[in-house]
């Protein structure tokens, strides 16, 4: 029995804790401050870089606290989850009360609340209360959704009210945050992203996933017909443009230019212009310079082809190409790797860096061999992704903005006009207003109503 009460007490306390605005204030501030960490410590870098930058001791601490993948860390995600739980519990906790406020069976107005309001204006008139009653009720009925007149000892009170429903605005905002969370969850569970480097003229349907480097076959393929880079006169890049064709079952179904900021959307996939690069063309020229005479002989060559050296000195096979060939710690840049098979003796490797035509002198053969007339081909670097969370996330944005407009710019307002005969025989008109959900600007509204009432009374005076 006793235990039972205690446990109810505890659940109540947990519930109230999770429903409190105090918790949300603490959480929001904590999220703000902890988020700073990830902007000061570079995220997702190599361990060696961290060790060099922070030293053994701090690296150990940072690693334990997950500071290198801060926004994905268990504790940051926990804070976010707690905020979401806070929103849910708080909404459930308050919705029924708010509902009763918004849709009351019979709204109750308490005159003393208005008399105590800080937003007040008063005026006096020589006309009797009854004489101006229809004018005032008419005004209130016109400008407020609900209005009601009540008798008082020496006159009457006219209440006017509007905007009860705007109290739902905050709930709309909070729901939009839940929807946003759902969208982000779907993005992270079902979304994926990869890249495809596509040389001009080639077709591919394989992309390489970003995090795992796994290859994924798409059920359509892309062909790059052209790629171009434009520059401004100052040399800044102006435009990267790929001409792409989409093929389905080998048949072309669409053709489009792809530029940055204008992705292609196709069957749930988004295709972005991401990078570009160059690869060497298929054919080039091998130049053989006779070290004795200086005479040069050129021969056309292509990959994996056997080329006979001048003067029957043997054959060369071009075997491989590297964009950044590393030779004893030096980066030689784009380099062809070949095998030289002499007339007699063992085959030996031949290194031909494109940008260093004299490199082969080192070998001290009869000829110095170099690469000439190399033509490059562009490849376009595409980023391809699929993210079913996007429509949900963007919808939540729209709802959130709508909720803000309702909460911030449409208010629940109540105005009371109290008309009473004074002992002096004059009539006192007291205009007061309350914003039950404490919106600013009530003072201004009350002044405006008072101005209108004054004008209405003055008009009656004249006529």
């Amino acid at each position: 029995m006793n235990d039972n009460i205690k446990s109810i007490d505890l659940t109540d306390r947990v519930w109230n804790f999770l429903a409190s605005v105090k918790l949300s204030v603490v959480l929001l501030l904590t999220l703000a401050f902890t988020s700073i960490i990830g902007t000061l410590i570079p995220q997702h870098k190599e361990t060696s870089q961290y060790l060099q930058k922070y030293g053994e001791f701090w690296h150990g601490i940072f690693k334990t606290l997950n500071f290198y993948d801060m926004y994905g860390s268990w504790w940051f995600q926990f804070l976010l989850a707690l905020l979401i739980i806070n929103i849910i519990v708080c909404s459930i906790d308050r919705l029924s009360a708010t509902w009763k406020i918004i849709f009351p069976e019979k709204p109750v107005y308490r005159a003393d609340r208005f008399r105590k309001s800080e937003h007040r204006q008063s005026l006096t008139t020589a006309q009797a209360p009854e004489a101006i009653q229809t004018a005032i009720t008419g005004y209130m009925e016109k400008h407020f959704r609900h209005s009601r007149t009540e008798r008082s000892e020496s006159g009457y009170l006219v209440y006017g009210e509007k905007g009860r429903w705007t109290r739902l605005g905050a709930y709309v905002v909070h729901m939009s945050i839940l929807l946003l969370t759902l969208g982000v969850l779907i993005s992270s569970l079902f979304g994926y992203e990869g890249r495809m480097n596509l040389p001009v003229g080639e077709t591919s349907s394989t992309m390489i996933l970003r995090h795992s480097d796994a290859r994924v076959a798409l059920d359509f393929s892309l062909r790059c017909d052209d790629f171009s880079v434009k520059h401004y006169p100052s040399g800044r890049p102006k435009e990267y443009r790929s001409e792409l064709a989409i093929l389905k079952n080998g048949e072309e179904v669409a053709r489009r230019s792809l530029i940055v900021n204008d992705p292609i959307r196709y069957q749930g996939f988004n295709i972005y212009q991401s990078t570009y690069g160059r690869i060497p063309g298929d054919t080039f020229t091998l130049a053989f310079t006779d070290n004795a005479s200086g005479l040069q002989i050129n021969k056309k060559a292509s990959m994996n082809e056997e080329i006979a050296m001048p003067g029957g000195k043997g054959t060369i096979i071009v075997q491989d190409y590297s964009n950044n060939f590393n030779f004893r710690g030096h980066n030689l840049g784009p380099t062809y790797l070949c095998m030289l098979i002499p007339e007699s003796g063992d085959p030996r490797p031949l290194i031909l860096p494109v940008e260093h035509p004299n490199f082969d002198r080192m070998r001290q053969g009869a000829y110095t061999i170099s690469i000439k007339d190399l033509e490059y081909r562009y490849f376009t670097g595409l980023q391809i992704s699929r993210d079913p969370g996007i429509p949900i996330v963007f919808t939540s944005f729209a709802i959130m903005i709508l909720g803000f407009i309702v909460t911030f710019y449409m208010a629940h307002r109540q105005v009371c006009i109290e008309v009473a005969r004074k002992n002096s025989g004059e009539t006192a008109v007291l205009i007061s207003g309350i914003s039950p959900n404490r919106r600013p600007g009530m003072n201004m509204r009350v002044k405006r109503v008072a101005g209108s009432i004054e004008r209405i009374i003055a008009q009656r005076n004249n006529s």
């Binding site: 949300s24 703000a32 570079p42 800044r236 992705p263 980023q383």
Partner: protein, 277 residues
């Protein structure tokens, strides 16, 4: 031919003069000085708007043709313009001028900063990632938000100045609007600012999805704008709790503004995608 950059250097001084007039009007309770402050503010803002439009045209004359919202310099010019516009509206609505000192000073400082050689006022062509209509919407909404939050900060500052005095209702402090009115204005401006920085955050996400294929990436500028957003969300909720009024809310508004400043200027010291603005 006179260009927008030299017009802006005049505007800087008119904002400065406005701040001075407002200050004199406040301290000596001089209506004439106050009127001069308002006049200078109105002129500076109007000419600032003109210079903004002129610069837009200039981008076409040099052959690039884009909204002048693509560099730090251009954003500062737009920022001072929005501060002027929102402030004038507030002055008209609330009928008090002490805030004008800080509003005009903020606009003056923004433009003084813009005139530094390191900021660079040349018209630059847009790089491919910036060529988007979202650039205009994103930057405009953010800076309307920032301008409103700057005014919230000015009101909070006045609140703290007034509450620091022994006799807040007499002398120079007495010329400051009442606590209630300042609190009201802070809240009003935070609501406007919060709405617009949310619009900025949201349009930024939509744009990032188009340009980079992701709507959120925790890059430092994004993260700092989220930090700012969290702080102002805190302020809005703190206000709902009894006991969190007046000074404490003013401190939160100052904290939020510090986050705005860091998001705007400080993040460039950190590495990230947004480093161009």
């Amino acid at each position: 031919m006179i260009d927008s950059t030299s017009i802006i250097s005049y505007v800087t001084f008119i904002f400065g003069a406005s701040a001075l007039f407002y200050a004199i009007g406040w301290i000596f309770k001089s209506k004439t000085a106050g009127n001069l402050g308002t006049a200078a503010m109105a002129i500076a803002t109007a000419v600032n708007v003109g210079a903004f439009i002129l610069r837009w045209m200039e981008t076409y004359w040099v052959g690039y043709g884009h909204a002048p919202l693509a560099s730090l310099y251009e954003s500062l010019v737009f920022f001072s313009m929005t501060i002027g516009l929102i402030y004038l509206f507030v002055e008209y609505r609330y009928k008090f001028r002490t805030i004008g000192v800080f509003a005009a000073l903020s606009a003056f400082l923004a433009l003084a900063y813009a005139s530094l050689p390191s900021v660079g006022s040349q018209i630059q062509p847009l790089m491919p990632a910036l060529k988007s209509n979202w650039l205009i919407i994103h930057v405009m909404t953010y800076f309307v938000g920032y301008a409103a939050l700057t005014l919230a900060f000015c009101a909070s500052l006045l609140f703290l100045i007034k509450s620091a005095g022994k006799n807040p209702d007499t002398g120079v402090l007495g010329h400051i609007p009442g606590f209630k009115a300042l609190d009201d204005l802070t809240y009003q401006m935070v609501m406007l600012g919060f709405l617009f920085i949310t619009l900025g955050l949201v349009t930024g996400a939509v744009w990032a999805e188009q340009a980079w294929g992701r709507y959120w990436g925790w890059d430092p500028k994004e993260t700092w704008s989220l930090i700012t957003w969290f702080i102002y969300a805190t302020l809005l909720h703190a206000r709902l709790m009894r006991g969190w009024e007046g000074k404490r809310l003013a401190y939160l508004s100052v904290l939020g503004f510090a986050a705005v400043l860091f998001t705007y200027f400080g993040v460039n010291l950190l590495p990230g995608l947004h480093s161009y603005l």
